[in-house]
């Protein structure tokens, strides 16, 4: 079990943050619904959406129960894990998911 580093009780965490995160959960659901209602298939196959679909199960992954490491695992899933510098920068921006990963 992780160290109890949050000064709040678990009930206080629920009372303080539940509504905020209920809203965020509904935003994700609405985003996925909006994708299905939108014309064309390209967005559904976009690497960012594929990565998101891989990340969502990590929220309830039993391997994280008691580890408090869900954010770290999701960030690692979304990261480029190669180690050598890329030959050249062809863009200045980042996507939010690694285009080189087979999500």
């Amino acid at each position: 079990m992780p160290e109890k580093t949050c000064p709040l009780s678990s009930q206080q965490v629920v009372d303080l943050y539940f509504m905020e995160h209920r809203a965020k959960l509904l935003d994700i659901a609405a985003f996925l619904d909006r994708l299905e209602r939108a014309d064309g298939e390209a967005g559904l196959a976009d690497v960012r959406v594929r990565a998101l679909n891989r990340a969502i199960p990590l929220l309830t992954d039993q391997a994280s129960d008691g580890q408090a490491d869900r954010v770290q695992k999701i960030l690692e899933l979304l990261s480029d894990h190669t180690t050598e510098p890329t030959p050249a920068a062809h863009t200045q921006s980042a996507l939010g998911a690694d285009p080189g990963t087979d999500y």
């Binding site: 000064p7 990261s79 510098p85 890329t86 050249a88 939010g96």
Partner: protein
């Protein structure tokens, strides 16, 4: 309470923001050189930018009792062309002795390319030659983990004392490695990317309060120049002590930045 925002781009902010920050308790800021949202067409554009950072912003900040400091460099987004980058780097020594210049920053990587790394290594060397502190920008999103590791390796290869380097924009997947290797770590409070105030406080709870600070990195994009005091509110509502808040937002930045011999608090 008095606090320091150790990373904010005031050239992109209004004077009203200075007023709001002063009213919220901000007594000092540091402003790293960064990408303006577009690529500058000539080194002369950087010359004027460095004048703005060393001459104009300190006066604007002083009107609100805020001490203004800065860091100089060519940012990684404009470092893909090494010839151009070296011309800009050639301008920096002229400004290094200005009283508000703390060091070289925010240097680092953007897309983790070979040219970006070459220019990063040369700017590390510049800081080393002039015995200056270093402020590191780590890449965005999917590039952060790899870029953070390559940057720390480059600093180690150059023999830089990690205690004189702040590695910024850490998140849950990079903070432990940065701290374990002896560097200072900065958490940037952004609404969409990097850390929210809630996650920043989570990281403090999980990784402790040594060599760690928070900043707004307020700029021309979605950002909030008052995110640092808003994070203090988040700490208070969880029951954290005033002593801890002051450690993160005053004592820690003061300790790191004072190594420059030039850092001071405002009125």
């Amino acid at each position: 309470m008095a606090y320091i925002d150790p990373h904010i781009h005031m050239v992109s902010r209004t004077t009203d923001d200075y007023q709001a920050m002063a009213e919220a308790g901000c007594v000092a800021i540091t402003e790293p050189a960064f990408w303006a949202g577009f690529d500058r067409s000539s080194p002369a554009g950087f010359y004027d930018y460095f004048r703005q950072l060393t001459e104009v912003e300190p006066k604007r900040a002083a009107r609100y009792g805020i001490a203004h400091h800065c860091w100089l460099c060519i940012n990684p987004k404009e470092a893909e062309d090494p010839v151009f980058a070296r011309e800009v780097m050639g301008l920096i020594p002229e400004f290094l002795d200005k009283p508000n210049v703390l060091g070289i920053g925010e240097i680092g990587l953007n897309k983790n390319s070979r040219n970006e790394l070459t220019i990063l290594e040369e700017q590390i060397e510049l800081a080393k030659q002039h015995d200056r502190l270093i402020l590191v920008h780590t890449p965005h999103l999917e590039d952060k983990l790899k870029g953070t590791r390559i940057t720390m390796d480059a600093l180690a290869n150059a023999g830089i004392d990690p205690g004189r380097v702040l590695i910024d924009h850490v998140e849950e997947h990079t903070v432990a490695e940065v701290l374990d290797r002896g560097y200072w770590a900065g958490m940037t409070l952004y609404p969409d990317s990097k850390c929210t105030p809630q996650r920043a406080v989570d990281i403090i709870e999980c990784y402790g309060n040594e060599r760690l600070w928070i900043n707004s990195a307020g700029d021309w994009g979605p950002s909030d120049p008052l995110s640092v005091p808003k994070c203090h509110v988040e700490m208070r509502r969880r029951g954290h002590t005033q002593q801890l808040i002051e450690k993160i937002s005053l004592e820690n930045p003061l300790t790191f930045l004072s190594q420059s011999g030039r850092f001071e608090l405002g009125n």
